[in-house]
């Protein structure tokens, strides 16, 4: 009977419930495994990164899947979120003892900072038509990385010291601390991220994005994606809605950055963690998981974060195997011939299942 109930439910609602249930069930399983000591250190260490990438992938999916705009600079927003929040927690960690409050402030700061940059980029770019957002976000990611590497901010009893490109200009007293130290980035960040925090963030973000895409605004955004001219002709303010969706998307990436920064004790802006390679990796999660499917993004992010770690046994071959798996997965998921083949097999399964039921 319960099944019937599910069936009579609205399709989208059912879809959302499945996603929430999936996250919660995985969380419960993982927690039981940890408490019973059945989980390896490697897996435990991977839990927070998985949450981080799931969050950023959800953010990018909103942009790519629902807004229909390609962004290859989401790592830049992550970077903004990571640095602004780590800066803030380093500054406040002495005055605020409660870790939960400190982390909430960090999330707020990181999200707002990333949203601000998203908004700033969105204003001029989203007026244009075509793939420009992709290139401008790519450029933004590279700029932010470059700028952070020459930024020096320190604090001592004389107040704040600030320098660009030359850290020697700052004469710091004995017990002063570096907040941002050029290429060294921010060090000694309090360890605030945890798997529980990550899962709560995922659930909250899922709640926000599901509500967003099913709201009037969300439908307007999708209308723009499907047919801009038709949407415009029915009086939808294109730029406004695009900007709104893009800003939210950037903010979510920023939240991912907050989780990233507070998981490791140090954060630096290097090409491997906040460069275009990372942006593209996140795009891979989104495309592989299915554009417009937040659940897919989470699953893809989890699998692809796990994969290279699981392949560690293969030594030097692991990145090679990883790249092959990536290509094969893409072909399997997207090539028309593979889709056809999959459908045939699925149909067979259904048939035999029905026979058995009968």
């Amino acid at each position: 009977m319960a099944k019937l109930n599910l069936k009579s439910m609205k399709k989208s609602t059912k879809d959302h419930i499945i996603t929430f249930a999936m996250v919660i069930v995985v969380y419960i399983i993982v927690q039981t495994m940890i408490t019973t000591g059945n989980m390896s250190s490697l897996m435990q260490g991977l839990l927070v990164p998985m949450c981080t990438y799931s969050i950023v992938a959800i953010g990018l999916n909103l942009c790519v899947g629902y807004l229909g705009e390609l962004s290859i600079g989401h790592a830049g927003f992550m970077c903004v979120g990571a640095f602004s929040s780590a800066f803030c927690t380093k500054l406040l960690q002495d005055s605020i003892q409660n870790e939960v409050i400190l982390f909430l402030i960090a999330i707020a700061v990181g999200t707002v900072a990333a949203a601000f940059f998203g908004f700033l980029i969105g204003i001029p770019v989203l007026r244009l038509r075509g793939d420009y957002l992709a290139i401008v976000t790519l450029a933004f990611g590279e700029i932010i990385k470059n700028v952070i590497n020459v930024l020096y901010i320190a604090k001592d009893e004389n107040g704040f010291h600030f320098a660009i490109s030359d850290g020697n200009k700052i004469e710091l007293s004995e017990d002063g601390i570096w907040l941002i130290n050029g290429a060294k980035g921010i060090a000694k960040i309090p360890h605030l991220s945890s798997f529980t925090a990550g899962v709560i963030m995922i659930l909250v973000i899922l709640f926000i994005v599901y509500n967003f895409v099913n709201s009037r605004t969300g439908r307007a955004v999708m209308a723009i994606r499907d047919n801009r001219i038709a949407a415009e002709s029915v009086g939808i303010n294109i730029t406004k809605f695009k900007l709104m969706a893009f800003t939210i998307s950037a903010a979510i990436a920023g939240a991912g950055g907050v989780l990233y920064a507070h998981n490791l004790s140090t954060v630096t802006a290097t090409p491997t963690n906040f460069g275009y390679n990372m942006s593209i990796m996140i795009l891979v999660f989104v495309v592989l998981g299915g554009m417009g499917s937040f659940r897919g993004s989470i699953i893809a992010a989890v699998i692809l974060t796990l994969l290279p770690e699981v392949l560690r046994g293969l030594k030097d071959y692991r990145m090679l195997i990883y790249s092959i798996v990536l290509i094969v997965m893409m072909l399997f998921n997207w090539a028309p011939k593979c889709i056809e083949m999959r459908q045939r097999i699925a149909a067979k399964f259904k048939k035999s299942a029905k026979k058995e039921a009968a």
Binding site: S40, S41, L42, M43, Q44, G45, L46, P49, E142, K145, N146, N149, S165, D166, G167, N168, G182, A183, K184, G185, A187, K188, H191, Y260, N263, L264, S265, T266, V267, T268, T270, P271, T272, N273, G275, G289, G290, G292, S293, R295, G296, I299, A300, V302, I303, L306, E309, V310, R312, G313, D316, R318, M319, M329, F332, N333, I339, R342, Q343, A346
Partner: protein, 400 residues
């Protein structure tokens, strides 16, 4: 269609997790297989072998450094085992890749922990090392890094360095140039996106003020634009610099030497330990490096027996000439050996007990290694050894 995709992904996830369990079980069994080989019938958990883990980039843009470290460490471990191990216990070494990324480095660390690592020789690069040092402090694991040279790395008590610190090298270089009156006008070309390079640069410039020369140009490049150095060289030339300080790695330095030659600019070039290896870049025209000076603890064609034995073994096994990274890693392994012997720890002790004992022993030992004789360690984690000034003459390193 969407459903099919998500179904597939869910299936893949399931496979992924199973594979995860499978592989961790695998490593467990290989671990025990290896220890069976080394003469014990039980699994490694009973503490019949010392398990040393190594973390460094063996893929990615910094792979050249990580591979050198892992290869050299393996040589040192094999030597130790042949000679009867440490206090009679055999040593196992396992290397994990971190692609020089902090997050992946922590993953590598966790993976080595699952393997049963007791002592960490790593990580090779600075930023990942800071992240991992945080984890080793939590677990009380003893850590010695072969080449992460920032002072931030050794803030925790349990972490030691086998290499010089960046401030050390920067100051030493400036003093050397000043004392020997090598130049009056100096230009610096450095990698502003790299911790090692920008760390040396900062202290070099600071110390230069106390020495009798002037820094006329500080020119940077970044990881994203390290192909063309003509502008930096041109600026140095037009400012009249007669010495160019290059606190960078030899890959970029080889281009700089090439381009300076093309421009007809012939200052003295002066490098640090990252410059070691430049003569072994395959197909490199070594005449370009003529007159290049460098402060380094290690040169591959030194005359002493130890270096020669190491270099010939490295060449035989890996077909390359080892660089300073490898030498530091080799010494790091021997430092671990010395510390274990000093502390008298046994493999069946817990990781944190071994860690505490080794941390204490570290300040008491003295190691004669490839990168210096009588190396000792401060409680801060810094090594004391003297960099040697070398100059390249007739295509070979010569002591100055």
């Amino acid at each position: 269609m969407k459903k099919a995709v998500s179904m597939f992904l869910a299936a893949a996830l399931a496979v992924g997790t199973f594979a995860g369990c499978g592989s961790s079980a695998d490593t467990g069994s290989t671990g025990s297989a290896a220890s069976t080989e080394s003469g014990s019938t039980d699994s490694a958990a009973d503490g019949s072998v010392f398990k040393i883990g190594g973390i460094g980039p063996t893929t990615g843009a910094a792979a050249i450094y990580g591979s050198a470290v892992m290869n050299a460490a393996q040589i040192a471990v094999d030597e130790i085992n042949e000679a009867g191990g440490i206090n009679g216990y055999q040593v196992e070494f396992k290397a994990e890749d971190d692609q020089s990324d902090a997050e992946k480095s922590v993953n590598a660390y966790n993976s080595l922990k699952d393997w049963g690592m007791q002592v960490l020789m790593g990580t090779v690069t600075t930023t990942p090392c800071i992240a991992v040092a945080d984890k080793t402090a939590e677990d009380g694991m003893f850590e010695i890094t072969p080449s992460a040279s920032s002072t931030d790395v050794i803030e925790n008590d349990n972490v030691f360095q086998a290499c010089f610190t960046d401030p050390n090298l920067g100051t030493a270089s400036a003093q050397y140039i000043g004392e020997n009156k090598l130049a009056t006008k100096v230009a610096v070309i450095y990698d502003s996106s790299d911790v090692y390079s920008s760390g040396i640069e900062a202290t070099f410039v600071k110390e230069a003020a106390n020495q009798g020369f002037e820094v006329v140009a500080e020119e940077a490049f970044t990881a994203d634009s390290k192909t063309d150095f003509s502008t930096q060289l041109q600026k140095a030339q037009s400012e009249g610099a007669d010495l160019v300080f290059l606190p960078i790695y030899y890959t970029e330095a080889s281009i700089i030497l090439n381009q300076a030659n093309g421009m007809g600019y012939e200052p003295t070039f002066f490098g640090c330990d990252g410059m070691d290896g430049i003569l072994d870049v395959k197909n490199f025209d070594t005449s370009l490096a003529e007159g290049l000076m460098l402060l380094t603890p290690f040169v591959a064609d030194a005359d002493d027996e130890k270096t020669q034995a190491f270099v010939s073994k490295y060449k035989e096994l890996y077909g390359d000439t080892p660089n300073q990274f490898g030498a530091d890693a080799y010494d790091a392994i021997y430092a671990i050996k010395a510390a274990i012997e000093e502390a008298g720890v046994t493999p069946d002790m817990s990781v944190s007990d071994i860690g505490t004992a080794l941390t204490e022993a570290m300040t008491k030992i003295s190691v004669d290694g490839l990168t210096g004789d009588g190396m000792t360690w401060e409680a801060t984690g810094e090594v004391s050894k003297a960099p040697k000034a070398m100059v390249i003459k007739d295509g070979a390193y010569t002591a100055m």
